[in-house]
Structure formats: structure tokens, C-alpha cells
């Protein structure tokens, strides 16, 4: 039991940090433009596929640098030639644009790389067990993922809160016109921030690709959870996104690891009653419920606190 708790906590924190890496970019972009980027998970997927392809050509470490840059460039192009022109039609049009983009990117990826999972391996340098807890080997690559996520998180916070660049970005979020009058190119600031957000998503993709499955529906699988994180934590709140990421990461990892059901705890229902909704609910295991747990959390939080955990913004 202790083994389960330790391993699940480690994995939960890891998944949570990965979620935060994605939702931080999404949150910054949202607070800036007021539009949730539906294609954010697609940028993550692009990162994984670019990472796979570049690893084949130039090796993993250059790919770790190049793939996020490529994804960031695509993100900047999307902002410059897509969102900026669509802005005049309102936020719904911008949201729809990114929705269509997510759809198109998934199709393009499955067109080029196929629909089956790719053989994206952990680099040889990190392909060894880092330490052993309770007879379970914990892979070094997972530690590496954790380290990268933490470093990015710290760097992001420091840049946003402590540097001149962060000052300008934060000012541009709240007072774009004033920042413009002070001589900064607000349009370019937006474009760069969008690019950095996309690049972060791409980086998450490159490092998550070998550990999780790299295939063309990985964006569709992760996308909804990402939005749960952002709404759950409170739209536009970076600390909220951080807490929500960890909560959802932990809850989901623990749910997958547990195999109990009401039937196993209290014994099966009277079989003569026949199949019904009740027996379904009685027999379902916690592991089976794992995929819907984040959405249940979302609904509960919205009933109790509609602005989310740390959110202040009413839409």
C-alpha cells in the first residue's frame, strides 16, 4: 500500500507538472487575448511528432531544442496571420479558428505519420532505472521530465515576475494601449508570447512523447483535460492552474492505480435483480472511472465556486 502511494504520488506530480507546463502557456495566452487556444494541445502533439522525426535525423538532444522552436514558429505564424485578422470578429470567431486548426492539425499529423502509435524511444543516455523503491524501478527519464518541468516552471515565474520583459508582458495584458503609447510594439509582444506559449507546449510534447504514447489522437485525448485544468483553477490565474494541474494529476493517477469498486468493498448485489444502472455503478472500478474524474471535479467546482479555485474574472 505504501509502495502504491509513493509511486502514484511521484507519477501524479509528474503528470501534474506536465499539465502545468501546458496550461501555463494556455493561461498566459488566455489572459492576454481573452481567447482560449483550442489548438494548444495540438501544439503539444506537434512537439511530440517533430521530436520523433528530428530524433531520427539529428538525435534527441538537438531535437529537444529544435522541435519547440519549430512549434513556436508555427504558433507565431498562427497569431500573426490567423488570430490577429480574426480578432475583429470577436472572441467566438477566434475560439472557432483555433478549434478548426486543432481539427486540421490532427488530420495533417495522421496523414503524414499515420494513425498508429510511433516508436518514439527514450534516449539511450537516460534509459536506466534511477532508483528502486519497494522493488519497483523508477526510470531516470521520468526524473528528467520532472526536472525539466520544474526548471521551466521556475524560469517562467522568474521571467514574468522579476524581469523587465515580464513587466512589459504583464502590463500589455492589462493596459495594452498604455504600453503601446510608451513605445512598445504590443502586437509583437502578443505574437512573441503566443509563440513562447506554443513552444512550451511543444517542449512538453518532445519530453512527454517517449514516456507516453505518441499518436495522432494524443491531442484529442489531452485537450479536454487541459481545459478542465484551466477552468478548474480559474480562468487566467497562473497559481490556480498550478494547483489544479497537481490536483488533477494526482487524482487521476491514484484513480488509475486503485482497483476497488463498491462491489469489492461491500460484496456484490443480489444477482436475481438482473442488470440495471445500479449494478453497473456498483460493479464499476475506480480505475474505470478515472477518465471521467476530472470532469466530475469540474462540474462540482462550478456548482460550488463558478469562477474556479483562484479565478477572479467573470466572463
Amino acid at each position: 500500500m505504501l509502495e502504491l502511494i509513493v509511486i502514484s504520488t511521484l507519477n501524479g506530480v509528474l503528470f501534474g507538472m506536465l499539465l502545468f507546463l501546458l496550461s501555463s502557456g494556455l493561461t498566459v495566452i488566455f489572459s492576454m487575448m481573452g481567447v482560449l487556444n483550442f489548438a494548444h494541445a495540438s501544439f503539444y502533439m506537434l512537439g511530440a511528432f517533430f521530436g520523433f522525426q528530428l530524433t531520427k535525423w539529428v538525435g534527441f538532444w538537438p531535437a529537444l531544442l529544435l522541435a519547440p522552436l519549430l512549434v513556436g514558429a508555427i504558433g507565431m505564424a498562427v497569431e500573426r496571420y490567423g488570430l490577429r485578422n480574426t480578432h475583429k470578429h470577436g472572441h467566438v470567431a477566434e475560439l472557432l479558428l483555433t478549434f478548426g486548426l486543432a481539427f486540421a492539425i490532427e488530420e495533417i499529423v495522421s496523414m503524414i505519420w499515420g494513425k498508429t502509435p510511433l516508436d518514439y524511444r527514450v534516449p539511450a543516455l537516460l534509459d536506466f532505472p534511477a532508483f528502486t523503491i519497494f522493488s519497483t524501478n523508477y526510470p531516470a527519464y521520468k526524473l528528467f521530465m520532472l526536472a525539466v518541468s520544474v526548471v521551466i516552471f521556475v524560469v517562467l515565474l522568474v521571467v514574468l515576475k522579476r524581469t523587465r520583459v515580464g513587466l512589459i508582458v504583464q502590463a500589455a495584458l492589462t493596459h495594452p494601449h498604455m504600453v503601446g503609447h510608451l513605445g512598445h510594439n504590443v502586437g509583437r509582444v502578443f505574437m512573441v508570447v503566443f509563440g513562447v506559449g506554443s513552444a512550451l507546449a511543444g517542449l512538453a510534447g518532445v519530453i512527454a512523447g517517449p514516456a507516453l504514447v505518441t499518436q495522432s489522437d494524443m491531442a484529442a485525448a489531452l485537450g479536454p483535460i487541459l481545459f478542465v485544468v484551466v477552468v478548474f483553477g480559474g480562468l487566467g490565474s497562473l497559481p490556480g492552474a498550478f494547483i489544479a494541474s497537481l490536483v488533477i494529476g494526482l487524482v487521476q493517477t491514484f484513480a488509475v492505480a486503485l482497483n476497488g469498486s463498491l462491489a469489492s468493498a461491500f460484496g456484490p448485489l443480489d444477482p436475481s435483480a438482473g442488470p440495471s444502472v445500479l449494478t453497473d455503478i456498483w460493479n464499476v472500478t475506480i480505475a474505470q472511472v478515472a477518465p471521467i474524474v476530472p470532469y466530475l471535479l469540474l462540474v462540482l467546482v462550478l456548482i460550488v465556486r463558478p469562477v474556479g479555485l483562484m479565478g477572479t474574472r467573470e466572463s
Binding site: V35, L96, I292, S315
Partner: protein
């Protein structure tokens, strides 16, 4: 919703416009009746049935998107639950021998969609905009995933099947042949379309538009935007349920794919591509998207990519959809200046078509590169592995784009000229 202005306060229409209004509906009904007589093959009847269902679904979606300004990413939940409700009802009717004939079944589908909307809608419609979109996405995922867990109700992966011919008959119709199913769908299509159009004319429909445009002001004049959104959501859920019930009758099965994100995405595509600002927009969109879906699947393996591209194009260049593009020309027709624009349209067709061909050729080359199947584009065969194909595609895309851009600028100039004349003559505000 008690003290509301009555519909009679709206500006009275002239007798001529009344006549034209009813004529449009009568022509629609006549087309629905005559269509299967002209195209009587089994395939086209199935297509018409699918299009009919898609129209009801898209119209119900537009109650949310177009009228109330709620962007939902989980509308298929009501469609799917309606389908399941209809399937269970049909099976129950057969088992218990209830005297309920098949034509009434879609109503139970509608109730299925409505009940869920009543339960979940109150929480969902608390906030509009991006938050609503995200919540609807979450609820959609929640229901779609739950449907795989609650096997006794949703039948797991396989879904639940039913037999529409086993129900009590009405007018001696067995509803075995597709033609009879088509007429059943057409009947419910007309009924739902009239009901939904009437809804847009009621005070509730009008106040929904006001909530979409300015919720603060609606609150100020004494309505709760939350209640209005909730009511609109319930109506949308009801009509989506009817569409789901029709689908259950047509396919004699309901499964978890009905509820999923793909179905929600498709109805969003159809409604938005058609145009949300006009009542007939979603109808156009549903016809186009269903037709493309049926037609393109046999031609290309990546038909969904074309959907995505068309959708992005519409969002970027014509947020009013196809209906918006068409209605843009109305003042010009009235002012008699359309003739000055048409020549530039005709000139623009050639480079735009070249650009489109280039894009299609590029996509198909990539899609078929590993397979090596030949691409047949308007009777010309291309080998996806030969550099010549890539060259042709590149030339078409690059040259097509630059020439097309010039011709679009020409259209814009001609349009401005025509619009100025129309404005001078008083046909354009």
C-alpha cells in the same frame, strides 16, 4: 417570463411579404415531397434521410449558437441521449405492446434530450462565452465516457439495437422501406423547422437575441439572462433529441458515437459554415456538410482535413457563413448594381480554382505518398511520387495565390463601387 411584450408589437408586414414568406415554406415542403420521386435510388434516399436529420440537428444547435450566442462543444450529448431514449422507447413499446406507432417515437427522443438539458442546463448556463464553451466540452466528455461505463443503459461499445418495423402500424405503413422512413423524417423536419422558426419570433426568441448581444442591458430591463439562456438551452436540447430519435429510427441503433466529440464538432461545423445569423443558414450548412461527408469519403481518405480547411476559411474570411455571403448581395440585387460585380467574380474564378486545385493536389500527394496510389484530379492522373506532381502543385499554389489575390482585390473594388451606388439609392444602410 410573464410580463413580456406580445409579438403583435413587431412591425406589421405587408401582404406581399406575407405571401412570399408562406410561399418559401410551401416550396420547401413541395421539394421534400417531390425529391424521392425524382431520385428514387436507395442510396439517394438514405442521403436525403441523413441530410434531413442533420438539418434538424443543426437548426437546434443554432438556437444556442446563433440566437443566444452560446458556443457549445457538447451539443451531441442531447442528440445521443435522444437517440438512446428513442431506442429504449421502441423496445419498450414492442415488449409491452403499448399502442404507440413509430411516427410518435421522435417525440420521446426529444423528451430524452430535454430531460438532460433541464437537469444539467442550469449549472451550465450560469455563464456564457468561453466558460460556457469549456463547460459544455467537459460535460460532453463526461457523458460520452459515462456511456461506456453504464453498460445496461447504453449497451457499451456495441450500443443498443431496435427494430422499427415491429411497432404498431399507422396508415398501414410498415416503415420497412427507406422511402417511408424518408417521409417520416421529412414530416418531423418540417414540423421541427416550423416550431423552431416560430420560436425565433416569440418574445423568448427575441430576448435570447438580446441576451446574446448585451446581457447587462437585458438584466437592466428586468430579465435574468441566466434564465433566458437556460430556457434556450432546454429548447435546443429538445430539438436535438428529436434529431437523435430520427437517427435512431433511421439506423435502428444508438451507440456511444452519437454522443461523442466528433458528432458535436460536426454540428458546429455545419451550423457555422452555413451561417448563424439567418434561419436558413444551418439548413444550407447541414446539406453541404452531409453531402461533402458522403461524397468525399468515397473520393479521399482525408476528407476531414478538407472540412477543417473549409471551416478555417469561413471563420477567417466570412464569419457570416454561406448564408451571410448570399445575403450580402441582397441590397445589390435590389439596387440593380449586382451586374457591376459579376464580371470580377467571373475573372476571379480561374486563379481561385487553380489555387484550390493546387491545395488539393498537395494534400493528396502527401496523403498518398506512402501508398503510391495515383491521384485522379478532374480526369488527369498524377503520380504522388513523381517530382513533376510536386512541381505542378507548387506552381498552382504559389502562382494561383498571387494571381487570386489580385483578382480578390479587384472584387473588393467592384464591390465597394456597387455598394456605394446601392447606398445612394437607399438599399444599404
Amino acid at each position: 417570463m410573464t410580463a413580456v411584450t406580445s409579438a403583435s408589437h413587431l412591425p406589421a408586414k405587408s401582404a406581399g411579404s406575407h405571401l412570399r414568406f408562406y410561399a418559401v415554406w410551401l416550396i420547401g415542403v413541395a421539394v421534400l415531397i417531390v425529391l424521392p420521386l425524382l431520385f428514387s435510388s436507395g442510396g439517394s434516399l438514405t442521403s436525403f434521410s441523413l441530410i434531413g436529420i442533420a438539418i434538424v440537428f443543426a437548426l437546434s444547435y443554432n438556437i444556442l449558437l446563433g440566437q443566444t450566442g452560446l458556443l457549445s462543444f457538447g451539443h451531441a450529448v442531447h442528440y445521443g441521449l435522444g437517440g438512446f431514449a428513442a431506442c429504449h422507447m421502441m423496445n419498450a413499446v414492442v415488449t409491452h405492446g403499448w399502442p404507440i406507432p413509430l411516427p410518435f417515437i421522435p417525440l420521446f427522443g426529444g423528451v430524452g434530450g430535454l430531460v438532460f438539458a433541464i437537469i444539467i442546463g442550469w449549472v451550465m448556463t450560469k455563464r456564457a462565452g468561453t466558460v460556457f464553451a469549456m463547460i459544455s466540452l467537459g460535460i460532453g466528455e463526461l457523458v460520452a465516457s459515462s456511456s461506456l461505463i453504464l453498460r445496461s443503459v447504453f449497451g457499451g461499445e456495441a450500443g443498443i439495437t431496435t427494430d422499427r418495423t415491429a411497432l404498431p402500424r399507422m396508415f398501414g405503413w410498415t416503415f420497412g422501406p427507406q422511402l417511408q422512413v424518408y417521409y417520416l423524417i421529412a414530416f418531423w423536419l418540417v414540423l421541427s423547422a416550423i416550431a423552431m422558426y416560430a420560436l425565433t419570433r416569440t418574445p423568448l426568441g427575441r430576448i435570447s437575441n438580446a441576451v446574446r448581444d448585451n446581457p447587462e442591458r437585458v438584466q437592466f430591463i428586468g430579465y435574468d439572462p441566466h434564465v433566458v439562456r437556460y430556457l434556450a438551452y432546454c429548447f435546443a436540447g429538445f430539438f436535438a433529441g428529436i434529431a437523435g430519435g430520427l437517427a435512431a429510427i433511421s439506423f435502428e441503433i444508438a451507440n456511444s458515437a452519437y454522443l461523442g466529440a466528433i458528432q458535436s464538432g460536426l454540428v458546429l461545423f455545419a451550423t457555422f459554415i452555413g451561417g448563424t445569423a439567418y434561419f436558413f443558414g444551418p439548413i444550407l450548412g447541414a446539406i453541404l456538410v452531409t453531402y461533402l461527408q458522403l461524397g468525399l469519403t468515397s473520393l479521399t481518405s482525408v476528407w476531414q482535413l478538407y472540412f477543417g480547411i473549409i471551416f478555417i476559411g469561413i471563420v477567417m474570411f466570412s464569419p457570416g457563413g454561406i448564408a451571410g455571403l448570399l445575403m450580402m448581395h441582397r441590397p445589390l440585387v435590389r439596387a440593380g448594381t449586382l451586374g457591376t460585380v459579376i464580371p470580377s467574380y467571373l475573372i476571379a474564378i480561374v486563379p481561385t480554382a487553380a489555387l484550390a486545385c493546387g491545395v488539393i493536389l498537395t494534400i493528396e500527394t502527401v496523403a498518398r505518398y506512402s501508398g503510391g496510389d495515383a491521384i485522379n484530379l478532374f480526369g488527369v492522373a498524377f503520380n504522388p511520387r513523381s517530382p513533376a506532381t510536386w512541381g505542378v502543385a507548387a506552381v498552382l499554389v504559389v502562382a494561383g495565390f498571387f494571381v487570386a489575390r489580385l483578382s480578390w482585390q479587384r472584387i473588393a473594388r467592384a464591390w465597394d463601387g456597387a455598394a456605394t451606388v446601392a447606398r445612394d439609392r437607399g438599399y444599404l444602410a
